[in-house]
């Protein structure tokens, strides 16, 4: 801008800035989002077209050999089918269990409702690896505790269960999905207008008919969108298929892609991994599109009337007992593997529970595992990883959400879309893409490459949470600060951040917990220097050091509880104080 002469008018210009703070932050933010999300995907596409053995920036040659190799092989069909069976099966079973449990807790007079609710929320601190390891100790065909007991009890010829099968993988994944589904479904059930049910009852239908012809059709879109959302998560699930699926001979896409990029022997086949990665990405994107279509239908069927009402609970009567038995069985299935893990962590070597074994119980595993320098390094790395990931992801999410909700123009909408898209990018695919992008940089092999990958992955969750919270804050609260003479950044710091603090803290906590649980990114991007707790667990386990792996897992669960519980209580109190 040229200097302004105002000699013709005796009005001086007020102090002005060339660019407002928003005008500086928005393009920077968009650039960061593009580097985080779009750049790895472009590299992935480029890598899938590379000749064997080459890295993305080595050559300009293009070949379709990887796609031909990947999709010309009849075994690939098996891979996709396995993935579909596993994801579909666990979502289907999980949804049935979750729907029954949610209905019992939200709409009936079943006892212990609050206890069930609290337990469901606390479940977020338990990593999937804990279930995988625990179930293997209970149900492996050689010396699984439950197998041995049942065999002795009923004098069976053979072990009744084999954990290394597709159906057991589905069962275990389903029980693990239930808490998340419970949280998603409880709102749906709670907000359903009981008048719709009453209208059915008045028309002369009994409860089961009302449920069949009125409630179920009304709930279908909601259930469907939860199912598709979960399917999107499950096609990229990694931990349980890695621990059990390989022994079971049921490889799924995510594990196969990991094995191509980190083979036990030989050189990594990045090109082929990228070609499979694109297949998995397409699958996830299709599910995402279907999810959007389904949620739009769900909007049309909205059963939430927004009126305050207390839905009448259904009296179970004698049905209370089967309901309680169902609930107890589910909780036993959730707790048994953790008990197996605890038991094993206290013994020098894995053995069945017995009085003799009880004499050997000690905390020795905990001490030895904690005193190892590698584990100490991993603990330090984990701290750096989870706190930087959660803090950076929330910082970025906060800024992106502000522009997405308050901003105008095309750039802000683009930013919002970029931030949401990692939801459809399977973890293992993102890990490979980030690995290929940064393999030649000093970032590769450090803990920060995992931080980068996780920040990208949790951007979708972070922005969705902050968007939802920000919409409820009246924009005049910010305008008032600006009219008082506070700059935009001061307004964000002094007004918005304190107001959104409970939401921020909750989302931050969620990311901390999930960042610590994550094995996909940590393992795919692992190097000797950036080992974290989850990858250490896997290494210990695959070397057969089961007792110490169990001890470390127990420490991780307890550690998460110690971090998560107090902060959650504080956030809940804070949110209450403001409401």
């Amino acid at each position: 801008m040229e200097p302004i002469s105002l000699a013709d008018k005796s009005v001086p210009v007020g102090r002005q800035t060339l660019l407002t703070q928003q005008q500086i932050v928005l393009p920077l933010l968009t650039l960061v989002a593009i580097v985080l999300v779009a750049a790895p995907l472009m590299i992935l596409l480029r890598s899938s077209l590379l000749p064997a053995g080459a890295l993305p920036f080595d050559t300009l040659s293009v070949t379709f050999r990887n796609f031909a190799a990947a999709y010309g092989d009849p075994a690939t069909l098996r891979l996709f089918l396995n993935t579909a069976y596993y994801a579909g099966g666990s979502v289907f079973l999980g949804l049935i269990l979750a729907t029954v449990l949610t209905w019992l807790v939200e709409r009936t007079d079943m006892p212990f409702r609050t206890v069930i609710k609290v337990t469901m929320f606390a479940n977020m601190t338990i990593p999937p690896l804990a279930y995988a390891f625990g179930w293997i100790m209970l149900l492996n065909p050689n010396n699984g505790a439950l197998n041995v007991w049942l065999k002795n009890l009923f004098r069976l010829e053979q072990h009744p269960f084999d954990v290394y099968t597709l159906s057991m993988m589905i069962f275990i994944s389903a029980t693990e999905l239930v808490p998340t589904m419970f949280v998603m479904l409880s709102g749906l059930f709670r907000n359903m207008d009981p008048q719709l049910e009453k209208a059915g009852a008045v028309s002369g239908a009994n409860y089961f008919k009302t449920a069949r012809y009125i409630m179920l059709p009304l709930l279908t879109p909601g259930l469907l969108s939860v199912a598709i959302y979960m399917a999107m998560i499950m096609v990229q699930a990694f931990e349980i298929p890695l621990v059990m699926g390989l022994t079971a001979g049921v490889p799924v896409l995510s594990v196969y892609i990991y094995l191509l990029s980190s083979p036990e022997g030989g050189t990594p086949k990045y090109g082929l991994a990228a070609a499979f990665g694109i297949g998995l990405l397409v699958l996830a994107i299709i599910l995402m599109v279907v999810y959007y279509a389904a949620t739009r239908t769900a909007e049309r069927f909205r059963v939430v009337t927004g009126k305050g009402f207390r839905p009448k609970r259904i009296e179970l009567g004698h049905w209370r007992y089967p309901a309680l038995i169902f609930t107890v069985v589910y909780f036993v299935a959730m707790i048994a593997p953790l008990l197996a893990l605890l038991w094993t962590s206290l013994l020098p070597f894995y053995q069945l529970p017995s009085v003799m074994a009880l004499n050997r119980v000690s905390l020795k595993n905990y001490l030895t595992v904690i005193s190892g320098t590698k584990v100490q390094q991993a603990i330090l790395n984990t701290f750096i990883l989870v706190f930087s990931t959660a803090t950076l992801a929330m910082l970025l999410s906060g800024l992106i959400s502000w522009f997405a909700v308050r901003g105008k123009g095309k750039l802000t909408r683009l930013l919002d879309m970029i931030a949401f898209s990692p939801l459809a990018i399977p973890r293992v695919v993102m890990a490979i893409a980030i690995l290929l992008l940064y393999i030649r940089t000093p970032l590769y092999g450090t803990i920060w490459i995992i931080v980068l990958a996780q920040v990208t992955a949790y951007l979708a969750f972070g922005t969705r949470t902050v968007n939802g919270a920000l919409i409820q804050i009246h924009p005049e609260l910010e305008n008032a600060a600006i009219a008082c003479g506070a700059s935009w950044l001061t307004t964000m710091r002094k007004i918005l951040l304190p107001l959104l603090w409970p939401h921020f803290l909750n989302a931050w906590l969620w990311i901390v917990a999930h960042s610590m649980r994550d094995l996909t990114l940590a393992l795919t991007l692992m190097s000797p220097d950036n080992v974290v707790l989850s990858s250490t667990l896997w290494v210990l386990w695959s070397f057969g050091d089961v007792p110490r792996a169990s001890a470390l897992l127990m420490l991780m669960v307890v550690g998460l509880l110690v971090i998560v519980l107090p902060i959650q209580l504080y956030a809940a109190k804070k949110a209450e104080g403001q409401g």
């Binding site: 007020g14 609260l477 008082c484």
Partner: protein, 366 residues
């Protein structure tokens, strides 16, 4: 103190563009209480937000105090937080995570004229005293009543003594009784502080009772500007006549214009009427005359035939306490008339009505 020139602002939405502010010009001298009055969607709030810097105008110029803060042609835009204003919002926008004291101290601690912490205490207490909130400084904001929140908002807006105070429908969220009290209090306060005030409202009583001058807005334009008395008693525009209270309209043909007086004669169904000519018209033009129901005087019998006097028959009547609201007919033309409630009239009575010629004016050219 505040000058707005040729302000324009168009909003582009999915359904097309809306010209929210369309060439608004006005000037508020120091210390004046100036009101933008109009129905919702007339552009008054957008105008206010452009002045505050919360919206960016497409065209025009804004001068705040002695500083040019926006000019399209000179490419000048001073951001909102650098403009010397205080503002009260419709929702009060009291920050719920702060106490009363912290809310009011915010402009002094983070605003354009930061002062030392020791001086802050003094200034905040003074501002709270002005709005009669002494003793509540440590109360958390969520524990305030609507009226108290409004006072906090006002204290926050005046605490750093801005050149111009912007008020965006500040009374619309209060209940009727409180609104009436606050009207006088607010007026009194800005008078005492001698702050130039721009007030935005859709409530005609607020506009008339508080303002030094009022600008009535419609469709993004100022249609009439004047003192409350001028605006109400002699509306010069059909919209103003209609929006502010009830009005009578009569169609007529201009027969005479008396040069230099701003007056003329219009032939109507009730006879020839002497009136104010406020539009550019020529003899022979068809115009619409507007006048208030309270403009009439009851003439003594026998005055029939005098200037602006005609006989009318009462066709219906409502006793409203402070006045008698009647519909009368003059040659089949219905007119609304307010009469003295102490006089006794009956439906069917024929009375003589007189309108002084300063009480009716042309409001539209047809």
């Amino acid at each position: 103190m505040l000058t707005v020139q040729h302000l324009e602002k168009t909003f582009v939405t999915d359904k097309g563009s809306v010209r929210a502010v369309d060439g608004v010009c006005f000037n508020v001298p120091p210390g004046e209480f100036y009101t933008l009055l109009g129905p919702s969607g007339c552009g008054k709030t957008t105008t206010l937000q452009c002045i505050a810097g919360l919206e960016m105008p497409d065209e025009g110029e804004i001068i705040l105090g002695d500083k040019l803060v926006f000019s399209k042609t000179k490419k000048i835009l001073v951001p909102a937080h650098r403009r010397d204003i205080g503002m009260v919002f419709q929702s009060y926008a009291i920050w719920p995570h702060m106490t009363v004291f912290e809310n009011v101290a915010f402009p002094l601690l983070h605003g354009r004229r930061r002062i030392s912490r020791s001086a802050v205490q003094d200034r905040v207490m003074k501002a709270l005293h002005l709005v009669q909130l002494t003793g509540l400084e440590n109360r958390p904001a969520p524990f305030l009543s609507g009226g108290q929140q409004q006072r906090v908002a006002l204290a926050r807006a005046i605490v750093d003594e801005p050149k111009v105070l912007l008020l965006d429908e500040p009374l619309s969220n209060l209940d009727a009784k409180l609104r009436e009290e606050m009207r006088f209090e607010l007026r009194d306060l800005v008078l005492r502080l001698h702050i130039t005030t721009l007030y935005v409202t859709h409530d005609q009583i607020e506009a008339l009772s508080m303002s030094d001058r009022v600008a009535v807005m419609s469709n993004g334009k100022i249609v009439q500007e004047g003192t409350p008395r001028e605006i109400y008693l002699t509306p010069r525009d059909r919209f103003v006549a209609d929006f502010l209270g009830k009005s009578n309209f009569l169609e007529g043909r201009v027969t005479e214009i008396i040069p230099g007086t701003g007056r003329g004669k219009v032939e109507t169904v009730v006879g020839p009427l002497h009136c104010l000519i406020t539009l550019e018209v020529q003899p022979g033009d068809t115009v619409l005359l507007g006048f208030r129901p309270a403009a009439f005087l009851v003439a003594k019998d026998g005055c029939a035939g005098a200037l602006n006097t005609f006989r009318a028959q009462i066709s219906s009547m409502t006793f409203a306490g402070d006045y008698l609201e009647c519909e009368v007919r003059v040659q089949d033309q219905p007119l609304r008339v307010l009469l003295d409630p102490y006089q006794e009239f009956k439906t069917g009575d024929v009375i003589s009505l007189h309108i002084p010629q300063d009480r009716l004016a042309t409001v539209a050219r047809l």
